[in-house]
Symmetry: C2
Subunit: 344 residues, 2 copies
């Protein structure tokens, strides 16, 4: 593990407050499910797998003080908590996956006393965190074969230890590829700057040469053959292989296609949503215009200008060279291959 | 004219200090050629045509106090001044075009007394400014036929009145198209934010509906058929039609090609450089990494991270639907068509 993005300590959930990076490494403490909702909404914790883990702990924080005596009233409180958590952000599949997993577990154990159910929820959150770390290592092992020696890899946003339990998906592959990677080009990733703030920080800690660029520079690097592969994470993957990921990912996929650069997506099975036929049905969060209008607290444009700020975009499966999961690599992803590897 | 981006007033050159927009509209005064060089380098004045105009005045400011009595010594001072101005920024063709034009004029009039040569240089600068305004209007007239009624147009950087003598090239076409334009999507244009700061301000003044987006959002708008045309300016156009323009332009050209969206470049003849065979030979300025690393005076990334900051990129002619000049529209630009319209 690279660092503890999320940890359970002194009977509370602690998350590295990613809004303060790279300037300060400080943990934000969550004592209630409301604290977790706020941390997710404000992106103190972000990245699909990390959101899922935080939400699982959030369920425990929401019910741990429950005075319910019977299963039905406990279940009601649990559902209220889950509803609150589910409403924090709409796109990342892992959030709903984690909630469903906790829900299933409780349903399966409805005979248990409430006190034991509470403990069970906490241990399930621990399990989700622990599994994430192993899954990310597995993604790294599966993916590193795709990286040729001496490669320059372009990545977008942050799909590293900070977006997961501590190792990363897209960056997990890069960490696992190690010395084979010559340089990582990091898209700064407007408007929240996860690339500039988080990915640069992670690569620096891992001693991997990194070069920061603005998102609009990728095309000119590709035209000069300076990019050998694009490697990104995912927030939700539809049954047909369409990928929702940080806004700007689709942009890179089109550029990679045009320049014949391989385009890889690294994500655990919990990011797949087989109930969604294709990318068109994935809900895309529209965030506050202030993220675009302000920089360092100051307006950089007219205060009343109209703004679009979708947090994600959809990359169609046909533009994806391969999806790297903890169970193996899906080349030229389609419905059949995904169902085979991810389903069941 | 929309506004006086550049004006000669009280015996000095005044330029709207574009670093302060949209917060403050304030003129920066230039008393010497050194002041003009600094204003261009710091991007207080920017945009290829505007740089050319400012440089022409800069030549006058550089020689107006000359004590040379004969042509040869005057010519030497003139050349020193021109060399300083030519070194301010390397990519915009209009800078060199304006300097060459003044140089030609002086050479042609070598018999004149030095005092008259000085006045002649000043009047040439006035003429260049005045012609720019007429040229931009002509570009608008030529280009507006390309805009279908109800169009959403995407633009990048600022190719408006602020980039020229006061009307604009790409924005000139949009101004001329008037009510035919439903909405302009404005790329914020990292890292210097000319779109967010300048283009949004100009469109607001002209009462044209504008929506600000981050540069990485254009692809997803195109995928949803929300962009009917891309319209940009140019800093230099090679003999074969390859275009150097603000970094991110090539990115848009690839996206437009993929989504079958027409991609237009609007530029005066002074932006063409027939001495340059293709885009590969156009020098691309690399600017300070601090433009990328800092926002509102604060570092948003690690201080010592490696950064790439090319100010321009090259869009190959094959991705350009048409180039709009004051002499007419060059559809599917190539060497022959360009030589015919621009040369001679």
């Amino acid at each position: 593990m690279k660092y503890e993005t999320i940890r359970w300590k002194n009977d509370r959930l602690e998350v590295i407050d990613q809004r303060l990076l790279p300037g300060k490494t400080r943990y934000a403490a969550c004592f209630t499910d409301g604290d977790v909702v706020r941390a997710i909404k404000a992106m103190a914790v972000r990245g699909a797998p990390a959101i899922g883990i935080a939400a699982a702990y959030g369920v425990y924080l929401g019910v741990r003080k429950s005075r319910a005596r019977g299963f039905r009233s406990f279940k009601k409180e649990l559902e209220r908590t889950m509803k609150r958590l589910a409403a924090s952000r709409p796109t990342a599949r892992d959030l709903f996956w984690a909630l469903e997993r906790v829900d299933e577990l409780v349903k399966k154990n409805k005979g248990m006393p409430v006190g034991e159910l509470k403990s069970m929820v906490l241990y399930e959150a621990h399990a989700i965190l622990d599994e994430d770390r192993r899954r990310c290592r597995a993604i790294g092992r599966e993916g590193k074969a795709l990286i040729a020696k001496g490669s320059n890899i372009l990545t977008h946003c942050n799909a590293g230890g900070l977006a997961t339990g501590g190792y990363g998906t897209a960056l997990g592959v890069i960490f696992a590829a190690g010395k084979k990677v010559r340089r990582v080009y990091v898209d700064e990733t407007r408007p929240v700057m996860q690339g500039a703030r988080l990915t640069v920080w992670e690569l620096s800690k891992a001693n991997i040469p990194a070069t920061l660029i603005c998102d609009n520079m990728a095309a000119s690097l590709m035209a000069k053959n300076e990019v050998d592969a694009v490697m990104v994470g995912a927030d939700r993957i539809a049954a047909n292989g369409d990928v929702a990921n940080k806004i700007g990912t689709y942009n890179l996929a089109v550029l990679a296609h045009y320049h014949k650069v391989p385009f890889y997506v690294a994500a655990p099975r919990s990011t797949f949503d087989l109930s969604v036929a294709d990318g068109g049905a994935i809900p895309i969060e529209e965030r506050s215009p202030l993220e675009v209008k302000k920089m360092g607290g100051e307006y950089v444009t007219l205060k009343d200008v109209d703004v679009r700020n979708p947090a994600f975009d959809i990359t169609p499966a046909k533009l994806i060279t391969a999806i790297i999961t903890e169970r193996g690599v899906i080349r030229r992803p389609d419905r059949r291959k995904i169902a085979k590897l991810v389903g069941g």
